[in-house]
Symmetry: C2
Subunit: 86 residues, 2 copies
């Protein structure tokens, strides 16, 4: 497999694990149903994403910075809804 193909695969992986949080954020905003969502998971996930973001800044990795900024914004929406309506 060529390096370009492998990098394209990594790019698809990053796109999926970033934008997959859009339907969850949208559903949570629309329904305000957060009963099945674990507060611990959302809080620890948001903390982990903040650390990935700092790590990305420190090693100057734009893919890490970009992906984790989008993910953090979506996860903070879900976490806020959980704290408000959970």
């Amino acid at each position: 497999m060529s390096t370009a193909a492998i990098e394209a695969l990594g790019f698809c992986a990053a796109l999926l694990t970033t934008f997959c949080w859009l339907p969850q954020a949208w559903q949570t905003i629309k329904t305000r149903d957060t009963s099945g969502i674990s507060l611990w998971t959302q809080a620890l996930f948001a903390t982990g994403i903040v650390l990935w973001l700092i790590y990305g800044v420190l090693i100057a990795s734009w893919p890490l910075i970009g992906a984790n900024t989008v993910t953090l914004a979506l996860v903070l929406i879900i976490l806020t809804m959980k704290l408000r309506y959970g």
Copy 2:
């Protein structure tokens, strides 16, 4: 900041975004309440983690392989519970 400190930060980030799925999997198994969980998000997230795992194998990155194997196992539990009780 030293390289070792930066790598330790990345390691903490990976630990958090991997094991944060434990409380969600546990809660979902215990309560079978998946109403607030987006099926699209879980399906796309699981697909993304599979791609990260393949990418990790192709670039021979043990941290990627390890973290994504654990995450995939936990996310597949949540996805299975969503499909069964959603």
